[in-house]
Protein backbone atom coordinates (compact mmCIF):
# COMPACT_ATOMS: atom_id res chain seq x y z
CA UNK A 1 0.00 0.00 0.00
CA UNK A 2 1.43 3.33 -1.02
CA UNK A 3 0.70 6.78 0.24
CA UNK A 4 -1.90 7.61 -2.41
CA UNK A 5 -3.72 4.39 -1.80
CA UNK A 6 -3.71 5.09 1.91
CA UNK A 7 -4.97 8.57 1.23
CA UNK A 8 -7.81 7.22 -0.89
CA UNK A 9 -8.75 4.77 1.83
CA UNK A 10 -8.72 7.36 4.57
CA UNK A 11 -9.92 10.58 3.01
CA UNK A 12 -13.64 9.88 2.51
CA UNK A 13 -14.22 8.75 6.07
CA UNK A 14 -12.16 11.36 7.79
CA UNK A 15 -12.71 14.50 5.74
CA UNK A 16 -10.86 17.49 7.07
CA UNK A 17 -9.60 15.67 10.13
CA UNK A 18 -6.95 14.34 7.78
CA UNK A 19 -4.35 16.96 6.91
CA UNK A 20 -2.02 15.13 4.60
CA UNK A 21 -0.74 11.70 3.64
CA UNK A 22 2.92 11.78 2.64
CA UNK A 23 5.24 9.03 1.48
CA UNK A 24 7.57 7.98 4.22
CA UNK A 25 10.44 5.52 3.71
CA UNK A 26 10.00 2.24 5.51
CA UNK A 27 6.25 2.64 5.96
CA UNK A 28 3.07 2.86 3.91
CA UNK A 29 3.01 6.58 4.50
CA UNK A 30 2.88 9.30 7.06
CA UNK A 31 -0.65 10.31 7.94
CA UNK A 32 -0.91 13.81 9.33
CA UNK A 33 -4.17 14.61 11.08
CA UNK A 34 -5.81 17.21 13.26
CA UNK A 35 -5.57 16.37 16.96
CA UNK A 36 -9.25 17.00 17.72
CA UNK A 37 -10.32 14.13 15.48
CA UNK A 38 -7.67 11.75 16.74
CA UNK A 39 -9.97 8.97 17.90
CA UNK A 40 -11.75 8.78 14.53
CA UNK A 41 -8.41 8.54 12.79
CA UNK A 42 -7.27 5.78 15.11
CA UNK A 43 -10.47 3.83 14.55
CA UNK A 44 -10.29 4.21 10.79
CA UNK A 45 -6.65 3.11 10.74
CA UNK A 46 -7.52 0.17 12.97
CA UNK A 47 -10.32 -0.80 10.59
CA UNK A 48 -7.86 -0.75 7.69
CA UNK A 49 -6.08 -3.64 9.39
CA UNK A 50 -3.41 -1.84 11.34
CA UNK A 51 -4.29 -3.70 14.49
CA UNK A 52 -0.89 -3.71 16.12
CA UNK A 53 0.27 -0.43 17.63
CA UNK A 54 4.03 -0.55 17.82
CA UNK A 55 4.95 2.66 19.47
CA UNK A 56 3.92 6.15 20.47
CA UNK A 57 6.38 8.95 20.78
CA UNK A 58 6.67 12.68 20.96
CA UNK A 59 8.97 15.37 19.66
CA UNK A 60 9.41 18.80 21.14
CA UNK A 61 9.71 21.33 18.34
CA UNK A 62 9.91 24.19 20.87
CA UNK A 63 7.08 26.15 19.26
CA UNK A 64 4.85 23.11 19.09
CA UNK A 65 4.98 19.44 19.93
CA UNK A 66 4.52 16.48 17.69
CA UNK A 67 3.11 13.15 18.73
CA UNK A 68 3.50 10.17 16.44
CA UNK A 69 2.14 6.65 16.33
CA UNK A 70 3.46 3.64 14.45
CA UNK A 71 1.02 0.84 13.65
CA UNK A 72 1.50 -2.43 11.83
CA UNK A 73 -0.84 -4.46 9.70
CA UNK A 74 -0.38 -8.19 9.60
CA UNK A 75 -2.36 -8.51 6.38
CA UNK A 76 -0.50 -5.79 4.49
CA UNK A 77 2.86 -6.45 6.16
CA UNK A 78 3.35 -2.74 6.46
CA UNK A 79 3.72 0.04 8.96
CA UNK A 80 1.79 3.24 8.98
CA UNK A 81 3.13 6.37 10.58
CA UNK A 82 0.63 8.78 12.12
CA UNK A 83 1.62 12.15 13.37
CA UNK A 84 -0.03 15.29 14.57
CA UNK A 85 1.04 18.64 15.94
CA UNK A 86 -0.07 19.90 19.33
CA UNK A 87 0.26 23.40 20.73
CA UNK A 88 3.19 23.78 23.08
CA UNK A 89 1.22 25.52 25.83
CA UNK A 90 -1.39 22.78 26.40
CA UNK A 91 -0.38 19.65 24.54
CA UNK A 92 -3.10 17.08 24.98
CA UNK A 93 -4.67 14.47 22.75
CA UNK A 94 -7.20 11.68 23.09
CA UNK A 95 -5.66 8.45 24.34
CA UNK A 96 -5.40 5.60 21.86
CA UNK A 97 -5.82 2.93 24.52
CA UNK A 98 -9.50 2.42 23.69
CA UNK A 99 -8.51 1.42 20.15
CA UNK A 100 -5.12 -0.17 20.77
CA UNK A 101 -4.66 -1.40 24.38
CA UNK A 102 -0.95 -1.66 23.71
CA UNK A 103 -0.71 2.14 23.67
CA UNK A 104 -0.86 2.10 27.47
CA UNK A 105 2.80 2.12 28.40
CA UNK A 106 3.93 3.99 25.31
CA UNK A 107 1.58 6.86 26.15
CA UNK A 108 2.72 6.89 29.73
CA UNK A 109 6.29 7.15 28.50
CA UNK A 110 5.45 9.93 26.05
CA UNK A 111 3.60 11.89 28.73
CA UNK A 112 6.50 11.47 31.07
CA UNK A 113 9.23 12.48 28.63
CA UNK A 114 7.64 15.00 26.32
CA UNK A 115 4.83 16.26 28.52
CA UNK A 116 1.95 15.38 26.24
CA UNK A 117 -1.23 14.64 28.17
CA UNK A 118 -3.38 11.79 26.91
CA UNK A 119 -7.02 12.35 27.79
CA UNK A 120 -8.94 9.37 29.15
CA UNK A 121 -5.83 7.30 29.60
CA UNK A 122 -6.62 4.68 32.26
CA UNK A 123 -3.44 5.02 34.28
CA UNK A 124 -1.31 8.02 33.36
CA UNK A 125 1.51 7.91 35.89
CA UNK A 126 5.27 7.84 35.88
CA UNK A 127 6.85 4.83 34.23
CA UNK A 128 10.60 5.17 33.89
CA UNK A 129 11.13 8.19 36.09
CA UNK A 130 10.53 8.16 39.83
CA UNK A 131 7.09 9.09 41.07
CA UNK A 132 6.67 12.82 41.46
CA UNK A 133 9.46 13.67 39.04
CA UNK A 134 8.81 17.27 38.14
CA UNK A 135 10.42 17.55 34.71
CA UNK A 136 9.82 16.25 31.22
CA UNK A 137 13.37 15.29 30.27
CA UNK A 138 13.02 15.14 26.50
CA UNK A 139 11.90 18.73 26.20
CA UNK A 140 14.52 20.91 24.56
CA UNK A 141 14.46 23.22 27.56
CA UNK A 142 15.86 20.40 29.71
CA UNK A 143 19.62 20.68 29.28
CA UNK A 144 22.00 17.84 29.99
CA UNK A 145 24.92 20.13 30.63
CA UNK A 146 25.94 23.66 29.84
CA UNK A 147 27.95 23.90 26.62
CA UNK A 148 30.49 26.15 28.34
CA UNK A 149 31.38 23.35 30.74
CA UNK A 150 32.20 21.07 27.87
CA UNK A 151 34.23 23.72 26.18
CA UNK A 152 36.31 24.52 29.23
CA UNK A 153 37.10 20.87 29.59
CA UNK A 154 38.50 20.37 26.13
CA UNK A 155 39.75 23.76 25.02
CA UNK A 156 43.45 23.68 25.41
CA UNK A 157 45.19 26.46 23.60
Amino acid sequence: MEAEELSRALAPALGDRLTAVEPFPGTAGRVRFRPDGALDVFRRIHELGFTHLSTVGGIDWVDHREVFYVAWSDALKQYVFLSTDLPADSPHIESATSVWPSADWHERETWEFVGITFDHHPDLRHLLMPDGYAFHPLLRSFKLHEPEELEVKVRHV
Binding site: L150, K153, V154, H156, V157
Partner: protein, 259 residues
Protein backbone atom coordinates in the same frame (compact mmCIF):
# COMPACT_ATOMS: atom_id res chain seq x y z
CA UNK B 1 0.94 -21.28 6.26
CA UNK B 2 1.36 -24.91 7.07
CA UNK B 3 4.61 -25.29 5.19
CA UNK B 4 6.15 -22.48 7.20
CA UNK B 5 5.87 -24.36 10.45
CA UNK B 6 9.45 -25.28 11.06
CA UNK B 7 9.52 -25.45 14.81
CA UNK B 8 8.56 -28.65 15.78
CA UNK B 9 6.04 -30.69 17.52
CA UNK B 10 6.79 -31.82 20.98
CA UNK B 11 8.78 -35.04 21.09
CA UNK B 12 6.88 -38.02 22.36
CA UNK B 13 6.99 -38.32 26.08
CA UNK B 14 8.08 -41.57 27.50
CA UNK B 15 7.15 -41.91 31.15
CA UNK B 16 9.66 -44.71 31.60
CA UNK B 17 12.50 -42.48 30.50
CA UNK B 18 11.29 -39.73 32.84
CA UNK B 19 14.58 -38.28 33.90
CA UNK B 20 17.03 -40.59 32.19
CA UNK B 21 17.72 -38.56 29.07
CA UNK B 22 18.88 -35.35 30.73
CA UNK B 23 20.87 -37.33 33.23
CA UNK B 24 22.59 -39.21 30.44
CA UNK B 25 23.45 -35.93 28.73
CA UNK B 26 24.87 -34.56 31.95
CA UNK B 27 26.91 -37.71 32.43
CA UNK B 28 28.31 -37.43 28.92
CA UNK B 29 29.31 -33.87 29.63
CA UNK B 30 30.87 -34.98 32.90
CA UNK B 31 32.95 -37.61 31.15
CA UNK B 32 34.17 -35.03 28.66
CA UNK B 33 35.02 -32.33 31.16
CA UNK B 34 36.69 -34.78 33.49
CA UNK B 35 39.64 -34.64 31.13
CA UNK B 36 39.38 -31.15 29.77
CA UNK B 37 36.93 -28.66 31.18
CA UNK B 38 36.37 -25.60 29.04
CA UNK B 39 37.46 -23.17 31.70
CA UNK B 40 40.92 -21.89 32.40
CA UNK B 41 42.42 -21.19 35.81
CA UNK B 42 42.36 -17.46 35.45
CA UNK B 43 45.02 -15.83 37.54
CA UNK B 44 47.53 -18.49 36.53
CA UNK B 45 46.52 -18.93 32.92
CA UNK B 46 45.63 -15.92 30.85
CA UNK B 47 44.07 -15.88 27.46
CA UNK B 48 46.18 -12.98 26.31
CA UNK B 49 49.40 -14.64 27.46
CA UNK B 50 51.23 -15.99 24.40
CA UNK B 51 52.70 -18.80 26.51
CA UNK B 52 49.31 -20.39 27.08
CA UNK B 53 47.74 -19.97 23.70
CA UNK B 54 48.50 -23.24 22.01
CA UNK B 55 48.10 -25.17 25.20
CA UNK B 56 44.73 -23.65 25.90
CA UNK B 57 43.30 -24.30 22.53
CA UNK B 58 44.04 -27.96 22.86
CA UNK B 59 43.34 -28.27 26.55
CA UNK B 60 39.99 -26.56 26.68
CA UNK B 61 38.51 -28.51 23.82
CA UNK B 62 37.27 -25.37 22.16
CA UNK B 63 37.01 -25.27 18.41
CA UNK B 64 38.43 -21.78 18.34
CA UNK B 65 41.96 -20.70 19.02
CA UNK B 66 41.12 -18.39 21.87
CA UNK B 67 44.56 -16.86 21.99
CA UNK B 68 44.64 -15.87 18.37
CA UNK B 69 41.67 -13.54 18.66
CA UNK B 70 43.05 -11.83 21.68
CA UNK B 71 45.37 -9.38 19.94
CA UNK B 72 42.44 -7.31 18.81
CA UNK B 73 41.20 -6.64 22.28
CA UNK B 74 40.39 -3.07 23.14
CA UNK B 75 41.82 -2.55 26.59
CA UNK B 76 44.00 0.04 28.26
CA UNK B 77 45.63 2.47 25.86
CA UNK B 78 49.27 2.63 24.99
CA UNK B 79 50.66 6.03 24.17
CA UNK B 80 53.90 6.65 22.36
CA UNK B 81 54.76 10.06 23.69
CA UNK B 82 57.60 10.49 21.20
CA UNK B 83 55.34 10.50 18.15
CA UNK B 84 52.39 12.31 19.71
CA UNK B 85 51.84 15.63 17.94
CA UNK B 86 49.40 17.08 20.51
CA UNK B 87 46.67 17.40 17.93
CA UNK B 88 43.86 16.85 20.44
CA UNK B 89 41.91 14.60 18.10
CA UNK B 90 41.64 11.87 20.73
CA UNK B 91 40.15 14.29 23.22
CA UNK B 92 37.74 15.69 20.66
CA UNK B 93 36.57 12.29 19.55
CA UNK B 94 35.96 10.91 23.02
CA UNK B 95 32.21 10.44 23.58
CA UNK B 96 32.66 10.23 27.33
CA UNK B 97 34.95 13.25 27.65
CA UNK B 98 37.39 11.16 29.64
CA UNK B 99 40.53 12.35 27.86
CA UNK B 100 42.23 15.45 29.09
CA UNK B 101 45.29 16.90 27.42
CA UNK B 102 48.00 17.51 30.00
CA UNK B 103 51.41 19.05 29.62
CA UNK B 104 54.36 16.72 29.40
CA UNK B 105 57.99 17.77 29.49
CA UNK B 106 59.69 18.06 26.13
CA UNK B 107 57.89 20.90 24.42
CA UNK B 108 59.25 24.38 24.06
CA UNK B 109 58.00 26.85 26.68
CA UNK B 110 55.87 28.79 24.24
CA UNK B 111 54.06 25.73 22.94
CA UNK B 112 54.07 23.11 25.67
CA UNK B 113 53.62 19.56 24.50
CA UNK B 114 50.27 18.14 25.51
CA UNK B 115 49.45 14.46 25.61
CA UNK B 116 46.27 12.65 26.57
CA UNK B 117 45.59 11.58 30.14
CA UNK B 118 42.75 9.09 30.30
CA UNK B 119 40.28 8.66 33.13
CA UNK B 120 39.44 4.95 33.09
CA UNK B 121 36.63 5.53 35.50
CA UNK B 122 34.78 7.11 32.59
CA UNK B 123 36.30 5.39 29.58
CA UNK B 124 34.00 3.09 27.65
CA UNK B 125 36.73 1.52 25.50
CA UNK B 126 34.96 2.45 22.30
CA UNK B 127 38.24 2.99 20.46
CA UNK B 128 37.17 6.25 18.83
CA UNK B 129 40.34 7.91 20.09
CA UNK B 130 42.70 5.37 18.60
CA UNK B 131 40.66 5.53 15.39
CA UNK B 132 41.11 9.25 15.36
CA UNK B 133 44.82 9.33 16.15
CA UNK B 134 46.48 10.46 12.89
CA UNK B 135 49.97 9.32 13.92
CA UNK B 136 48.99 5.92 15.32
CA UNK B 137 50.61 6.77 18.62
CA UNK B 138 47.51 6.11 20.75
CA UNK B 139 46.53 2.46 20.45
CA UNK B 140 44.63 0.00 22.58
CA UNK B 141 46.30 -2.99 24.17
CA UNK B 142 45.23 -6.25 25.71
CA UNK B 143 45.57 -5.05 29.27
CA UNK B 144 42.28 -5.16 31.11
CA UNK B 145 43.08 -5.38 34.83
CA UNK B 146 42.37 -1.97 36.26
CA UNK B 147 41.21 -2.46 39.80
CA UNK B 148 42.79 -0.11 42.26
CA UNK B 149 41.92 0.95 45.78
CA UNK B 150 41.86 4.64 44.90
CA UNK B 151 39.67 6.29 42.36
CA UNK B 152 42.36 8.83 41.56
CA UNK B 153 44.57 6.04 40.31
CA UNK B 154 42.07 5.34 37.56
CA UNK B 155 43.33 8.46 35.80
CA UNK B 156 46.29 7.39 33.71
CA UNK B 157 48.79 10.11 33.03
CA UNK B 158 50.65 10.17 29.69
CA UNK B 159 53.69 8.73 31.44
CA UNK B 160 51.68 5.81 32.72
CA UNK B 161 50.24 5.25 29.27
CA UNK B 162 53.79 5.36 27.92
CA UNK B 163 54.71 2.63 30.39
CA UNK B 164 51.94 0.52 28.90
CA UNK B 165 53.39 1.21 25.49
CA UNK B 166 56.84 0.12 26.61
CA UNK B 167 55.50 -3.12 28.10
CA UNK B 168 55.12 -4.37 24.50
CA UNK B 169 51.65 -5.77 24.90
CA UNK B 170 49.89 -6.80 21.71
CA UNK B 171 48.12 -3.79 20.29
CA UNK B 172 44.78 -3.64 18.62
CA UNK B 173 45.51 -3.50 14.90
CA UNK B 174 41.98 -2.55 13.93
CA UNK B 175 41.85 0.87 12.42
CA UNK B 176 38.87 2.70 11.11
CA UNK B 177 38.54 2.56 7.38
CA UNK B 178 38.65 6.28 6.75
CA UNK B 179 36.46 7.83 4.10
CA UNK B 180 38.19 8.65 0.85
CA UNK B 181 36.99 12.22 0.39
CA UNK B 182 37.94 13.92 3.58
CA UNK B 183 36.98 17.52 3.98
CA UNK B 184 39.67 20.11 3.95
CA UNK B 185 40.17 23.33 5.89
CA UNK B 186 38.88 26.24 3.82
CA UNK B 187 39.23 29.95 4.36
CA UNK B 188 36.69 32.69 4.12
CA UNK B 189 39.17 35.39 2.96
CA UNK B 190 37.23 38.57 3.71
CA UNK B 191 36.95 37.63 7.39
CA UNK B 192 40.62 36.79 7.95
CA UNK B 193 42.72 39.28 9.89
CA UNK B 194 46.01 37.45 9.38
CA UNK B 195 46.55 36.98 13.11
CA UNK B 196 48.72 33.83 12.76
CA UNK B 197 46.81 31.99 15.51
CA UNK B 198 46.07 29.03 13.27
CA UNK B 199 49.63 28.67 12.04
CA UNK B 200 50.96 29.01 15.57
CA UNK B 201 48.77 26.28 17.01
CA UNK B 202 48.77 23.85 14.13
CA UNK B 203 50.18 20.61 15.55
CA UNK B 204 51.66 19.51 12.24
CA UNK B 205 52.89 22.95 11.21
CA UNK B 206 51.13 22.55 7.90
CA UNK B 207 49.77 26.09 7.83
CA UNK B 208 51.94 28.79 6.43
CA UNK B 209 51.07 32.45 6.46
CA UNK B 210 51.60 33.92 3.00
CA UNK B 211 51.70 37.59 2.25
CA UNK B 212 48.82 38.99 0.29
CA UNK B 213 48.92 42.27 -1.54
CA UNK B 214 47.56 45.18 0.39
CA UNK B 215 44.81 46.70 -1.72
CA UNK B 216 44.88 50.32 -2.69
CA UNK B 217 42.94 52.38 -0.28
CA UNK B 218 40.15 54.19 -2.10
CA UNK B 219 39.23 57.63 -0.97
CA UNK B 220 36.45 57.59 1.59
CA UNK B 221 36.78 53.90 2.34
CA UNK B 222 38.73 52.62 5.32
CA UNK B 223 40.85 49.56 4.93
CA UNK B 224 40.22 46.83 7.52
CA UNK B 225 42.75 46.79 10.32
CA UNK B 226 44.58 43.57 9.73
CA UNK B 227 47.89 41.94 8.96
CA UNK B 228 48.18 41.33 5.28
CA UNK B 229 48.80 37.63 5.46
CA UNK B 230 46.58 34.63 4.84
CA UNK B 231 46.90 31.03 5.97
CA UNK B 232 47.49 28.35 3.36
CA UNK B 233 46.93 24.76 4.42
CA UNK B 234 49.05 21.96 3.08
CA UNK B 235 46.35 19.33 2.67
CA UNK B 236 48.68 16.38 2.46
CA UNK B 237 50.19 17.13 5.86
CA UNK B 238 46.94 18.22 7.51
CA UNK B 239 45.50 15.70 9.96
CA UNK B 240 42.10 17.41 10.02
CA UNK B 241 42.09 18.10 13.70
CA UNK B 242 40.36 21.43 13.38
CA UNK B 243 42.53 23.14 15.96
CA UNK B 244 42.91 26.07 13.58
CA UNK B 245 39.15 26.38 13.33
CA UNK B 246 38.75 26.40 17.05
CA UNK B 247 41.41 29.01 17.68
CA UNK B 248 40.41 31.33 14.86
CA UNK B 249 39.15 34.51 16.50
CA UNK B 250 37.14 35.54 13.47
CA UNK B 251 35.59 32.19 12.53
CA UNK B 252 36.97 32.48 9.06
CA UNK B 253 38.13 28.86 8.72
CA UNK B 254 35.65 26.08 8.05
CA UNK B 255 35.31 22.53 6.77
CA UNK B 256 34.60 22.08 3.14
CA UNK B 257 35.65 20.50 -0.11
CA UNK B 258 37.84 22.20 -2.68
CA UNK B 259 35.99 23.33 -5.72
Amino acid sequence: MANDVTATEKPEQNPVLWVVRPMATAARQFAKSLFRPSTIVYPYERLEDPKFRDRLEVASGKPLGVGAVWDNYRGVHALNIATCISCNLCAFSCPDICIEMVTVPGGDPKHPKKCPAIDYGKCSYCGFCSDACPEGCLTMTTRYELSTPKRAEMVYSPEKLYDVFRSKLPMNPIRLARPANEDAILLDPPLCIGCNACARDCPTQCITMLDIPKPESKPGEKLPRRIWKEPVVNDSDCVRCGTCISVCPKECLFWGTHK
